[in-house]
């Protein structure tokens, strides 16, 4: 051993030389002891040191007992943070983070927990379904083998080749179609056909027959509650809410620190192509307006920028015909920057899937009328999107979406300015509806993502002030079908990416190659939703999503994700009506309301009789019993029928009323606008803030101050006058209070104190609460004006608020609304 210098020489104090203990001491299983030299320095033996040494011994033993007790009270899987906990972590140590796996295994062995080894290899699953899947796999394998055998046999026998030769003799032109196939395909695109999603892999094909999965479906299934298998929403499998509770976490991430991202690939995109004038004519025909109902995008400066393709337009789109146009949906329209040397322009219309079909039909009809016909394409399954919101959203995107190496980085182009925008935390600082488009590289090559550089403050201010991207934005490649397909097809497999990462030097990302995919990307800032929207080709959404979810936010943690519930919550906190949930006047909103009615009734029926509200016997005071209208529904028919007097069917697919813009409604009410005849009744959305305690929920009835009953009216108004909790020092003393001397003697002071303690607090006398006897009654049904569509405790406001829809019928211009 001495001859071979490579062999390690074992010395006596190897343990002392070792820098790190091989088996680190578990604090709950070691008892610390002080060495003699510290307990008795100088080696003298006196009584005080002796006693202290024994006292320390007692202390360390008691600590050890306490630590052992604590160590047993929490199992390994209970030490996992809430969002990493898996249900089967208790009996499957593999479902626990790596650092706790050994501990979990030991604990399971100690108390005889059966460790279940999941037998669901290759995704077949367990139980009856699993067995069926295994059988099906075998069946399909056998079928495939039989087919191959048959083919081989025929080849050997020569029947197939004979057939082939015969075909070639009869139709010498048979080869040509293969050359023309590309052209044939292009020509076929002229007819506007509803798109069909790509056939998914065979393992998942059976589950996507009646619905489509989002590109990030599997990622979401492990972390969120999805729509039930047989009840997809709008024929997509959409995550409804996160698996763990996240109401306050989402609120904080969106407003204070962090970011929240949604996979919005279910938003439908319609592509328009044609001459600029014809597309403009089409949009005008469909009455494209903005939130306030102004269609003046041709006059405004921002309208010009939008036409050039450097801004995004968000607004409402209406049906083409009708004296009073009827709203279809909220849309976002993006133009493509005009390519030099081409007269054709392209545009995208993005719309919610619930309103897609009606919009599609309208657009097709409108497109056929235009003189140079507008080509309409359904791009629902070609373009996916991610929306991200919060102070950390800009830095996340800047780090994950990095410009591909092929794009030139001359100054002021979107790729070069992209990295400077990382430090923007408030989206309002950016120009309204600004957009950026360039090609990005595969985010998997730059994985794990690094924190974005947020130090370039001065440059950011200049960029924000001048926004040179308006001049330097080139035609976005995402409008081009070939670019999208090329990116999707050239995405390398995860294995090849892992190989490249292994070959790169440690700490560096792999070098870019010319064969890397260039993913076309378009990002815009949505003012309506207060978020970044990133448009990507469908297959490229998943790598970008994973990159976003792994990004280390500068303030700590990772970006969160959200489901439908979080989306509605975010809109609700800003008191913005979200389409389609808060717009029952549109077809989509009405369909949603019908759906929700059924669900609410079912929920109510499920609950046992003692634990649910009996709507039929609610006492409304004045010997009225039972809730007004259908208790599980926002009973619009009842509200607007009573005023109208016309027949309104309950189960119509189309709402018998329309959605009015809030501005229009307020104009009508205050009598400012000269409006045409309001033939059909309508609803408009309003925000409700609670004065006293109580949280309004969906379907809550809203009444106005009673018009006929003056006494009731004054009672209600008196509730508004809230007593001030702090009495002003200049208040004149009340007559029934005897003026007291400054320093009353002790017995008087104690008497006063006793009186104060026994007296109930003053505020309860003045303001009535709902449970008091003298609380005013609910007004009659004639004063019903609307229903709440979304209501909750609003964390952004610190008070319960609601987004409601109020009805405005023929009586609209007659009634007096008191704005209290």
């Amino acid at each position: 051993m001495m001859e071979n210098p490579k062999k390690r020489k074992y010395t006596n104090d190897t343990a002392a030389l070792a820098k790190r203990a091989r088996f680190p001491a578990n604090p709950s299983r070691t008892i610390s002891a002080t060495p003699t030299t510290t307990a008795y320095p100088n080696g003298e033996l006196n009584v005080s040191r002796f006693m202290r040494a024994h006292e320390n011994e007692i202390k360390s033993l008691e600590n050890a007992m306490r630590a052992a007790k604590k160590g047993l009270s929490r199992r390994a899987f209970q030490n996992v943070p809430r969002d990493l906990r898996r249900r089967t972590g208790s009996h499957n140590p593999q479902r626990v983070p790596k650092r706790l796996r050994d501990k979990a295994r030991k604990e399971a062995k100690e108390d005889n927990t059966p460790i279940s080894k999941s037998k669901s290899g290759s995704g077949t699953g367990k139980g009856g379904k699993g067995r069926l899947r295994v059988e099906n796999i075998e069946k399909s394998k056998n079928a495939r083998e039989k087919r191959e055998e048959k083919k081989k046999k025929e080849q050997i026998e020569g029947t197939l080749s004979a057939r082939k030769i015969r075909k070639k003799e009869d139709h010498p032109m048979m080869d040509e179609p293969t050359e023309h196939s590309a052209a044939v395909k292009k020509r076929r695109r002229k007819f506007a056909v509803l798109a069909v999603p790509d056939t998914p892999s065979s393992r998942f094909r059976r589950r996507q027959v009646h619905k489509t999965w989002l590109p990030t479906h599997i990622w979401h299934t492990k972390r969120a509650t999805m729509t039930p298998g047989k009840e997809p929403l709008w024929r997509f499998a959409i995550p409804l809410r996160t698996a763990g509770k996240a109401y306050r976490l989402t609120h904080r991430a969106v407003l204070l620190r962090g970011a929240v991202a949604w996979d919005m690939s279910y938003m439908a995109t319609i592509g328009l192509e044609g001459a600029e004038a014809s597309i403009v004519g089409l949009l005008e025909g469909l009455h494209l307006t903005d939130e306030d109902g102004q269609a003046t995008w041709q006059q405004k400066a921002i309208g010009k920028k939008w036409l050039n393709g450097t801004r995004v337009w968000e607004g409402w789109i209406y049906e083409r015909e009708g004296k009073v146009p009827k709203k279809i949906a909220q849309v976002t329209v993006v133009w493509s920057v005009q390519q030099e040397g081409s007269t054709k322009r392209k545009a995208f219309i993005r719309v919610h899937p619930s309103a897609f079909l009606s919009l599609w039909n309208e657009v097709i009809r409108a497109s056929k009328i235009q003189k140079p016909v507008v080509t309409v394409e359904d791009l629902r399954f070609e373009i996916g999107s991610i929306e991200i919101m919060g102070p950390a959203s800009a830095e996340t995107l800047c780090s994950v979406l990095s410009a591909s190496s092929a794009t030139e980085l001359s100054s002021d182009t979107p790729p070069s300015l992209w990295s400077t925008i990382a430090s923007v935390t408030n989206l309002r600082e950016l120009p309204p509806s600004a957009l950026l488009a360039f090609s990005v590289s595969d985010p998997r090559l730059r994985d794990p993502p690094r924190a974005a550089d947020m130090t370039s403050q001065a440059q950011v201010i200049e960029t924000l002030a001048y926004w040179p991207i308006d001049k330097t934005q080139t035609t976005p490649a995402i409008f081009d079908r070939t670019a999208r397909l090329a990116a999707c097809r050239s995405l390398p497999s995860q294995q090849s990416i892992n190989r490249r990462k292994a070959m790169a030097s440690p700490g560096n990302y792999p070098d870019p190659r010319p064969t890397d995919p260039q993913i076309p990307m378009l990002t815009f800032v949505s003012r309506r939703n207060n978020c970044w929207t990133v448009l990507l080709p469908w297959k490229c959404v998943l790598p970008v999503w994973r990159g976003i979810m792994r990004y280390p936010v500068s303030t700590g943690g990772n970006p969160r994700f959200g489901g439908l519930k979080e989306r509605r919550q975010v809109d609700f906190e800003r008191s913005v009506p979200s389409f389609p949930f808060d717009c029952p006047g549109t077809d989509a909103g009405w369909a949603w309301e019908q759906q929700e009615r059924v669900e609410r009734k079912m929920e109510w029926t499920k609950r046992p009789k003692g634990k649910r509200i009996e709507w039929a016997t609610i006492d409304l005071g004045n010997s009225r019993k039972g809730e007004v209208g259908d208790p599980w529904a926002c009973d619009w028919e009842r509200l607007l029928q009573a005023k109208d007097g016309t027949e309104v069917t309950a189960e119509s697919a189309v709402p018998p009323f329309r959605q009015i813009l809030t501005k229009e409604a307020s104009d009508l009410m205050t009598g400012h606008s000269v409006s045409p005849n309001i033939s059909t009744p309508g609803v408009f959305s309003a925000k409700i803030i609670m004065v006293q305690r109580g949280i309004p929920t969906t379907c809550a009835r809203i009444y106005r101050l009673p018009t006929n009953n003056q006494e009731l009216r004054s009672k209600w108004l008196s509730l508004m006058v809230a007593p001030s909790p702090v009495s002003s020092p200049n208040q004149a003393p009340r007559k029934d209070q005897v003026s007291r001397p400054k320093n009353p003697p002790k017995h008087l002071r104690s008497r006063q104190l006793a009186r104060n303690l026994l007296k109930p607090p003053q505020t309860s006398v003045d303001s009535l609460k709902a449970s008091d006897e003298n609380y005013p009654n609910v007004p009659d049904e004639e004063d019903l004006i609307g229903y709440v569509t979304t209501g909750n405790y609003n964390l952004a406001e610190g008070a319960p608020t609601a987004v409601a829809n109020l009805g405005l019928g023929k009586y609209g211009h007659v009634c007096i609304w008191e704005l209290v």
Binding site: I31, T38, Y40, L45, V47, F50, M51, A53, L61
Partner: protein, 189 residues
Amino acid sequence: MVRVKNRYLVVKFLYPSTTPSSSSKDVVPQLLQLHQPTPDAFHAGLLLRAIRDGITELFGDYGMGMASTSLKINYHSPATSTAIIRCPQAHYQMVWAALTYMTKLPKPINTPVVVQVVRVSGTIKKAEMEVIRRAKEIILRAKIEQRGGADNATGDGMVGHIVKMVERRREEQVLVRVEEGEEEDDSDE
């Protein structure tokens, strides 16, 4: 799965004085001397090795095999000369014997020592509690003797007081019974 059961031995290392001293002045140092701290060189590893060597010497390879399956020094404090040793339940007596037969600390130190197994328990919690109880007792004794340390039987401390009371009663009883008869003198003395 059958549980592997262990026994925990609470062990004290005592250093009785070799020179006999009967003077009452050495009472305090006598307690300290008996329970004096062990030198640091005698760490847990050395103790483990000593036990193993002892078992091999007494019980051979068989004993070594049976006893060292779960032999572990849970706690070893040289400052208070206390240790808690874990050993398999069926063969704890072997370990006890090996400890008893230790007359001096192993090679580098070589001081004579008496190893006393104070308690055997099935759980470490009871062993820890025993150590705590003994430590408290020793502290109390040391405190008493420190207070009555300066002058023991003649002092103002508690011990001195008791000694005085005993002496006084003895004197009274002797004085009382002298008058009654001689036979009772013997029994009183």
